[in-house]
Amino acid sequence: MATELSHVLDHIEKIRELDLEGVPPTSHVIDVVNALRADEPEPSLPREVILAAAPERINDGFGVPTPGAA
């Protein structure tokens, strides 16, 4: 995989040959100024529904192994 990635990077490197002095980087591709919406509370999905998909559940939360136990 390292060889494949180097091969891909060699190809990508070509863009560094372009003169891009003073060109602004794209932040959003369609011209929009701001995206605001009314701050209206709405119900969230029920906790039981969300926890149903968890690989491990402990009481009302997601269960995870202790960080840094090893």
């Binding site: 995989m1 990508i12 980087p25 959003h28 591709v29 999905l45 690989p55 840094g68």
Partner: protein, 475 residues
């Protein structure tokens, strides 16, 4: 009466409205074909028609739709082609799928795809490759390969997919159907399992241009759940143009010249369609897209960078796969991700993480975003003189399974002519334009942001003149 599954979606809707067929009858005809399919086009098929809820009276008349696996569908497997999400059933439905259901197009099934939409051949799916109905030894294209194969083979009346760098247009071309990537923001991304958020866009894969217009009409619009979605200016009109009088088409030398490596048969077809367009009244002239040849490089920095961030959420904690980590959190993360992601996804996460890393950010990601600005400017300038830019959709027709898997870069070149439009956020459509050595070829038209109605009109006029017959793939 012809076979139900030979009708376009619009024609089937007509029959339903005329009470010649019942929605449940149409659903069952497709459901049976989809369930029995040997193309591996589906990852899930509905087991019965939905209850009669009056959808025959809705605009889409109950004509069912096949949906790419990465759209979240409540209670129905939504795996984005990945083992890390195997069996995942989300608690909510993507806006676009909900809008289609509301308009009278119920869910027929979920279609196979490249894992997290990363690929151009559908060989990166965690659930096996999809076969091309024109030749089962060949790929259907990707990443929306299941949707394209299903529509081409008559396993679905129509389908939706997503396009990040060509993932609707390229498989549509390789399977001989119509594929449309709308303007960025035209359709809500809410509930689409994200790949590259600044590029991902939902769109139709259909038998003809009219069907594509119908799906688009009912999926566009601002959604409060996606702050990048936009109010589409105006309605999507059903296409009706009979000619191309007054239409100016631009041929970009940078994309259609030697560098793209276009196969002779594809090039020949492209030239024939250009001549046909001229016969319909269009003027055709060369145009410049100076930075377009660098689009692929910029894309393979921007898309992996965004993917590396988006895919951080798959960590074995809230949903999906978890592999035991001997009671250690970091070990659990790394084992889960190592077992759950396929090689192409790992490759792109590493590439993206590298492009965003401290010390390389400006040189890679920053430079790519500047190139993106130049590519968008090139299109903007070109559209002052031209209505549409036209290219072949893919440099080649459907290739043999396994023939490009050893060389990621060769695979990436599939997208040479579709990626520039993605980076610029503009709409583009691929229509079937004939056969080369028995395999479908696609012709791409791209227009300015929000020009979808005009784009569909031009595609419709060409479609009528080409008279492509896709019935062979339906068997």
């Amino acid at each position: 009466m012809s076979e139900l599954t030979d009708l376009t979606a619009a024609a089937a809707a007509e029959r339903i409205r005329a009470r010649e067929i019942a929605p449940a009858e149409l659903f069952e005809a497709y459901r049976a074909r989809a369930a029995a399919n040997d193309l591996n086009a589906y990852t899930w098929v509905a087991d019965a028609p939905p209850p009669d809820d009056g959808s025959a009276q809705a605009p889409l008349a109950g004509v069912p739709v096949a949906v790419k696996d990465l759209f979240c569908t409540e209670g129905v497997p939504s795996q984005s082609g990945s083992k890390i999400l195997e069996g995942y059933r989300p608690p909510y439905t993507a806006t676009v799928v909900a809008k289609l259901a509301q308009a009278g197009a119920p869910l027929l099934g979920k279609t196979n795809q490249d894992e997290f939409a990363m690929g151009s051949s559908n060989e990166n799916s965690g659930f096996g490759p999809v076969l091309n109905p024109w030749d089962r030894s060949r790929v259907p294209g990707g990443s929306s390969g299941g949707s394209a194969a299903a529509v081409a083979a008559g396993l679905a009346p129509w389908a939706i997919g997503t396009d990040t760098g060509g993932s609707i247009r390229q498989p549509a071309a390789l399977c001989g159907i119509v594929g449309l990537k709308p303007t960025y923001g035209a359709c809500s991304r809410y509930g689409m399992i994200a790949f590259a958020s600044s590029l991902d866009q939902a769109g139709p894969l259909t038998r003809d241009v009219t069907d594509a217009a119908l799906i688009l009409r009912h999926t566009i619009g601002r959604d409060r759940h996606d702050s990048t979605s936009l109010e589409f200016p105006g309605e999507i009109a059903l296409p009706q143009a009979e000619d191309l009088k007054g239409i100016r088409l631009g041929v970009p030398e940078e994309l259609t010249g030697a560098e793209g490596g276009i196969e002779p048969g594809v090039h020949e077809n492209y030239n024939a369609i250009i001549a046909l367009a001229e016969g319909l009244g269009a003027t055709v002239e060369p145009c410049r897209l100076e930075h377009a040849p660098h689009a692929l490089s910029a894309y393979y920095l921007i898309a992996p960078a965004e993917a590396s961030a988006n895919l951080a959420r798959f960590d074995g904690v809230r949903y999906g796969l978890r592999v035991d980590g001997d009671a250690d959190l970091i070990t659990m993360y790394s084992r889960t991700r190592n077992a759950g992601f396929g090689p192409e996804v790992k490759r792109r996460i590493m590439l993206g993480t590298y492009a965003l890393s401290s010390g390389y950010y400006d040189a890679y990601y920053g430079t790519a975003q500047k190139v993106r600005t130049k590519i968008a400017e090139d299109f903007h300038t070109a559209f002052e003189r031209f209505d549409f830019i036209v290219t072949p959709t893919s440099p080649w027709t459907a290739f043999e399974l396994g023939s490009k898997t050893a060389d990621p870069l060769a695979m990436y070149l599939n997208d040479f002519m579709t990626v520039p439009m993605s980076l610029a956020g503009i709409p583009a459509i691929s229509i079937p334009s004939g056969l080369s050595e028995g395999l479908p070829v696609g012709f791409q038209l791209a227009g300015p942001a929000f020009s979808e109605s005009r784009l569909l009109d031009a595609a419709y006029a060409l479609e009528r003149a080409i008279g492509f017959d896709g019935s062979e793939a339906r068997g």
